[in-house]
Each structure stands twice: as C-alpha cells, then as structure tokens.
C-alpha cells in the first residue's frame, strides 16, 4: 500500500514537480520513460516517489522514446493507468506510437514539456513538438503555468479514461518558462486528488484472459476509413466530457477551466490568440493598454488544442475587429497553426475579423510585454482603417531585415 504524503495548503513547485506530484496522486500503475530535457524531472520525480514507497507502480526504463510510448501502449492495453513525459526530439521519436495509442483508444497521459525541435539543436521552449502532435488523435490540453500543469494532469486522467472518451491525453507546458519556474501551488490532498481522478476502469484489457482480444489489427481500404472516422468522431465528441470534468474540478477547487479561455473579451475590439506561458504576457499587455491607452484589448487562449474549440472561437471573436494569432512554432511554408484554425473558424461567420499571424519566440527567444503591446496596437491600427495594413504573416523579435508574407487583397 502506497504511503500518503502530507502536503501544505500552498506548496512551492515548478511545472515539472507539479506534474510528478499529480502522477503520484493519480497512482499511475506504469510509467515507461526515457528522460529528456526539459521534461526529465517529471519521470525522475515519479521514480523517486516510487522508490520511497509513495506509489504502488512500475517504472520501466527503456532504450528510447519510441520504446517508452510502446511500453505505455502495452501497459495500457494490458489494463493499467499509464503515463509518461517527454519533450522535443523525444516527442518526435514517439510520434509513430502516438498514432498507435490513439487508434487503439488507450487513455495514456503524456506530459509534453514543449521544446524546440532540431536542427539546429535547441533545448529551450517553443511549440514545435506540440504542433507535430496535433494530427495524432490525442486530446491536447495546454497549461500556461505550474498550477495549471497540476490541475490539468488530474483532469487528463479523468477525461481520457472516461468510458465515453477512451482517448490518450497530452498535457502541454512550456519548457523552462513553466517547467522550471517555481510558483505557489495549491494542491489537493492525496485522498481528495485520488477521489477526483477515481479508480481506473479497464476496457478490453488484455490481462482478462476470459475475453481474449486482439490489439493492433491490420485494416486495409475496406475497413481503415471507417475506423479512423469513428476515432475522429470520438475526439470531436470528447468536448462534452472535458467540459463536465472541468466543471467537477471547479466545484472541488474553485479553479475554473474552459476549453477556450478568454480574458477581457466582453468588450474587446482587438484580440490576441495565443498558447502557453505567452498567454499571461499578453494578458498583462492587454491590461496595461486598457489602462494607459484605452485600447479595448483582449486575449483568447485555447486550453484545449484538440479537439479544437471551433464554435467557442466563433462566438468569442464574433464582435472583434482585428485578431493577431501568435504561433510559437516555425510555420515552414504556410501560415501558423493558430492562424489557420482561427481563420478556418471565422470564415463561416458574417462579420469576419481581420486576422494576422505572428511567428515568435522560436527556440526560446524572449517575448516581452512591450512586444505584445506593439502587436495589439498594430491590430488597433487595422481595426481603425478597416483593412490589414501590414503583411499578413510577420516574424516578431527577429534580427535582420523585416520578414513577412502576403498582403490583404482589396479589390
């Protein structure tokens, strides 16, 4: 029987330790992991908790991240609660198996501590790895600070393991900015946290020999399409369970989560759509602009990247005149992901806002409040004249000649 840990009402944890504590409280059965910066302390922490008697589980050391996720798939199919963590290159090596996990409907929880993807090699935070996972069939939740890492991990088990969902869940946090920044955290007690997550309820578990099942079957053109369509439907429908779990979590803790977070959007004329720790930077910028310059600025942040909050995005941006979408990842030959998702949602509305795209912060380049304010002001400029006065895609905080692409077509 695992020992309980006495926690203070307020603990000082960084994002990694918050994730490790949540895995401990959820009493994860199996962690198969291959540590990588900056996510290393998550699995290190789980291993330490286990070695010290705080977890009745198994830590499986493997030879690569591909093997780590493969171990998770096996343990989850066998019928256990399973989690792991990774970043960047490790995430890229896991990708093949990420699709296996979601296709087999295995509710694994993966902490992704977002980090730039080589080449050139870089250990700092951007969303290159997060974006590479967006077609993998996982639910993707994004934490903007360490408290949210803790909270969303507890929610992730409850969402993914729900009998009506049965999908793997990623919890994203920004490398170093969130993962290594200690903050005040209000944890639940071990008993409260476990009661919230609940006992693991296995489905089609391979260790039930009375109901022998095959996992990982081959399907060709006569079956594959139907199976992928069913999987997509499950991911699209999972929002109802995500909403319910967030509601239950708010009842228990008072901390409110929504699939699309909105800040100062009630009367906003201009908005930034962003992800990760940048959201808090943008909120500060919007507050200052409202006080100093009277610009009605607001911030929109997908808490849930997949399933994408398409309807909520249309609703919140319905009366906004100009929107800047901030992508923390190299777009490589197209507009950034957030631009495409937001534009894709807004194109089916009557009064479409002017939408621009900023690439920023690649490889951990700092993104300041002043830069966020400059971007807001630029949107205000577009709103005032009624068209996009700049290039549609721009690079923020980049040295060298100004880099941008495409202009608005005004016929």
């Amino acid at each position: 029987m695992a020992e309980k840990m006495e926690l203070n009402e307020i603990e000082v944890w960084d994002g990694n330790h918050a994730a490790a504590q949540a895995l401990r409280q959820a009493q994860v059965d199996v962690v198969a992991a291959y540590p990588i910066t900056p996510s290393t302390p998550i699995v290190e922490g789980y291993g330490a908790f286990m070695a010290n008697g705080y977890i009745d589980g198994e830590f499986v050391m493997v030879e690569s991240e591909h093997a780590a996720m493969s171990g998770c798939v096996g343990a989850s199919a066998a019928g256990g609660r399973v989690a792991t963590a990774t970043s960047s290159q490790g995430f890229m090596l896991m990708i093949e198996v990420l699709y296996q996990a979601s296709g087999m409907r295995l509710p694994i929880v993966l902490n992704v501590v977002n980090r730039a993807v080589a080449s050139p090699l870089n250990v700092r935070g951007d969303h290159g790895d997060m974006y590479a996972g967006r077609d993998s069939g996982w639910i993707q939740l994004d934490a903007f600070n360490a408290q949210e890492v803790y909270d969303l991990n507890l929610c992730a088990f409850k969402i993914g393991e729900d009998i009506n969902v049965r999908l793997p869940v990623m919890v994203h946090q920004d490398g170093f900015t969130t993962s290594h920044t200690a903050q005040n955290i209000r944890p639940l007690s071990d008993d409260e946290a476990y009661a919230f997550v609940g006992d693991f309820k296995p489905v089609d578990e391979m260790l039930d020999f009375s109901k022998a099942v095959t996992y990982g079957a081959q399907t060709e053109e006569d079956w594959h399409y139907e199976h992928k369509a069913k999987q997509h439907r499950a991911l699209m429908d999972s929002y109802t369970v995500i909403d319910r779990v967030f509601e239950e979590f708010e009842k228990k803790t008072g901390r409110e989560y929504k699939r699309l977070e909105t800040y100062m959007m009630d009367d906003a004329e201009v908005a930034i759509v962003a992800l990760g720790a940048t959201v808090e930077t943008c909120i500060l910028a919007a507050k200052q602009l409202r006080e100093e310059e009277g610009i009605k600025a607001g911030v929109v942040a997908p808490r849930c990247i997949r399933p994408f909050p398409f309807n909520e995005m249309r609703d919140v941006l319905a009366n906004v005149k100009a929107v800047a979408t901030l992508d923390h990842s190299a777009p490589m030959g197209a507009m950034g992901m957030l631009y495409n998702e937001v534009a894709g949602a807004m194109v089916s509305t009557q009064d479409r806002p002017l939408i621009t795209n900023f690439i920023y912060g690649l490889g951990g380049r700092d993104f300041s409040i002043n830069e966020a304010k400059r971007i807001f002001r630029e949107q205000k400029g577009h709103a005032d004249v009624g068209y996009i006065t700049t290039e549609i895609q721009q690079f923020s905080g980049l040295r060298g000649p100004k880099l941008g692409f495409y202009e608005m077509k005004r016929s």
Partner: protein, 150 residues
C-alpha cells in the same frame, strides 16, 4: 481440401468477405474479440473446441492465396516437431507431440515446413495446389544415398 481437424467453424469465409458495416458499428479502437462469449478455460481447450468469434482468423480462410501446397507423408515422419515450431501460421497440426497433418484453411504455401524437415527423404514436400494428395504420395522420392567424399 480442408486438411486435418477441420470443423464447421474453421475457414468458413474468405478473408475480406465480412459484412461491410459503417463507421458507427466498427469496434472501438479496432479491438477484436476472439470469442463472442467470455471463456474461462481457453488455455485448456483445443482450437477446434473453442467458440471463436468471426473476428478470429480461425473462422477465415486464406487457402486461395496458395499456389503450391505442402503434402505430408506419415510413413517417413519422425514427429520431431520442427515443422510445428517453424510454421508461421500455426497450420501444422500436432497433438501430444504427434504430427497429424496440415490445416489447409490457413496454410499459405510458404514451404518453411519442407525446408526444416530433417528426414531423408523429407516427410513434407511441396506440390502444385491442384495435385491430389494420393498422386503426390505415389511419386514420393526414394531415400537419397550420401555421396562419398574423396
């Protein structure tokens, strides 16, 4: 030709001849149950005694994939079980370490069993799919004499 230990469930449909249900009816996670009902003693039951579901390959046949087939000669076999060990499709049927013959519903004619057979002449040989077993047995080769080395 069904081969040994055929039942009224084994190889009763061509692989791919399943009913084509829509996306809303396929199984979750492509998880395929081997049995329609819970089974308490699968490990103690022989395949021909198990109530396999239509998702199990036991009920399907791939015989049509085969152009040549192995024919088994009981008179020469020493029950070494090599073919049973090596067959990639569990199509060599053996009971109590005695070789019984071939499951022609699932054998794909790869010839591995012939390759690993240690007897002289071999107890398994490949013949054209259309060759009748009795004709094949009638033309079985004689024992080969070892060539003397100089």
């Amino acid at each position: 030709m069904k081969g040994v230990l055929a039942t009224d469930k084994r190889g009763v449909r061509e692989l791919g001849a399943e009913e084509m249900v829509g996306w809303d009816e396929v199984t979750q996670g492509v998880v395929l149950p081997s049995f329609d009902q819970p089974i308490g003693n699968a490990a103690l039951l022989r395949p021909e005694e198990r109530a396999y579901s239509d998702f199990n390959s036991y009920t399907a046949t791939v015989a049509s994939w085969r152009v040549i087939k192995p024919v088994y000669n009981r008179d020469i076999c020493i029950d070494c079980q090599n073919c049973w060990v090596w067959c990639p499709d569990t199509s060599i049927i053996s009971r109590d370490k005695q070789m019984l013959g071939i499951d022609y519903d699932h054998c794909k004619g790869c010839g591995v069993c012939v390759e690993v057979c240690p007897t002289n002449p071999k107890s398994l040989l490949m013949f054209a799919e259309a060759e009748a077993p009795e004709d094949a047995l009638a033309k079985w080769p004689e024992k080969k004499k070892k060539e003397k080395k100089d």
